[in-house]
């Protein structure tokens, strides 16, 4: 377990570790907290982790962005463009879900007076 071993192991997997860490933290927040705003924040962190995982699966070593803005870029390896296009859609859908969830939280607060789900009798787990 000397330093070059650790660095070469991290170089191959740091993106997966980061994305998995974000997914794990998001799931932890959503399951263990009972405040509604904190659960929505956990949902957003989970969304970010999944998007990062999808993009890092599509990476090709020593590849560059798939944009042909220069005639000198003819024979360059490029990364996969399909996961990037699909994650673009997924990010926008994450924003839409966040907006609608926050508006429902505002209405819940006006109706019940509290934001803690344990104190609302019908919503107890």
């Amino acid at each position: 377990m000397n330093i070059p071993h650790i660095i070469s192991f991290l170089q191959g997997t740091i993106y997966y570790i980061g994305a998995f860490g974000l997914i794990f933290i998001g799931l932890l927040i959503m399951l263990l907290k009972s405040n509604l705003i904190k659960m929505i924040i956990g949902l957003n962190i989970l969304d970010t982790g999944v998007n990062l995982l999808l993009i890092s699966v599509g990476y090709i070593s020593k590849g560059t962005a798939p944009v042909f803005s220069n005639p000198a870029l003819e024979n360059q390896t490029m990364v996969d463009p399909v996961p990037q296009a699909l994650v673009l859609t997924a990010i926008v859908i994450g924003v839409s879900v966040l907006a609608l969830a926050l508006s429902l939280a505002i209405r819940l607060y006006h109706h019940y007076g509290v934001l803690d789900l344990r104190e609302i009798r019908e919503q107890r787990w």
Partner: protein, 228 residues
């Protein structure tokens, strides 16, 4: 009790994810579809940005679904928050001098930058959604600095509706002319790396840029009016 079950569930899910992630090598070419799009993307669509040609031309139907989801979320937020309007007015303190001067100086520059990004979507990295988000951030700056003023909501709704309609109508016209399928690229493709190239792709991205920018500004306006 609830914490105990949650931790057990999380350990099961985490071990499942780790077992699957071990099988996926990092940084090696995995599919052939991406290579086909990179090799033939420039001749078939005329755009130099391959991600743009995938989003608008090859997988254009997914983009219509995404625009619909954003539209439904914006309308849902307006409908849920419209049912209650408080009638009391609070004393609004004006923002500091640095913020108001900075807002007046920066607002047209941010709009210009956002417009540049969605107009050049087929030449440089960027596109309609990114440019729309930048334009919405310019409107957030107005709500932060000039407190108590609103952006006109009729202009917002008109821009949003026209953007969505232009996208759908261009797709339906593609059924009649050109390749006779929905969202076919029927305008002339032109040369590479020019602004007026790549058929219908710049027109679609300009429509999407207007739509997303005005939609996000409308969401911000609804939330700020709710908190007054």
């Amino acid at each position: 009790m609830r914490a105990f079950i949650s931790i057990i569930l999380l350990i099961i899910i985490a071990s499942g994810i780790i077992v699957v992630l071990n099988e996926i090598p990092f940084g090696e070419p995995k599919t052939k579809v991406g290579n086909y799009y990179i090799d033939n993307g420039r001749e078939e669509t005329g755009a130099s940005n391959i991600v743009t040609s995938v989003v608008v031309s090859y997988r254009g139907f997914d983009t219509i679904g995404e625009v619909t989801v954003l539209f439904v979320a914006s309308i849902g937020l307006g409908a849920v928050l419209a049912a209650r309007r408080k009638k009391e007015k609070r004393q609004i303190e004006p923002a500091s001098l640095v913020l108001t001067t900075g807002c007046r100086f920066l607002f047209p520059l941010i709009l210009l930058f956002g417009g540049y990004i969605f107009i050049h979507g087929h030449l440089t990295p960027g596109g309609g959604f990114q440019g729309g988000a930048i334009i919405a951030s310019a409107f957030v700056l107005i709500y932060l600095a000039c407190r108590g003023r609103r952006v006109s909501q009729t202009g917002n709704k008109i821009a949003e509706s026209i953007g969505g309609l232009v996208f759908i109508i261009i797709g339906l016209v593609g059924l009649m002319v050109g390749g006779h399928y929905f969202l076919s690229n029927y305008l002339p493709k032109g040369e590479l790396n020019l602004l007026f190239s790549a058929g219908v792709i710049p027109i679609i991205y300009i429509a999407i840029g207007f739509k997303v920018g005005s939609e996000l500004a409308g969401i911000i306006d609804n939330l700020v009016e709710e908190s007054k």
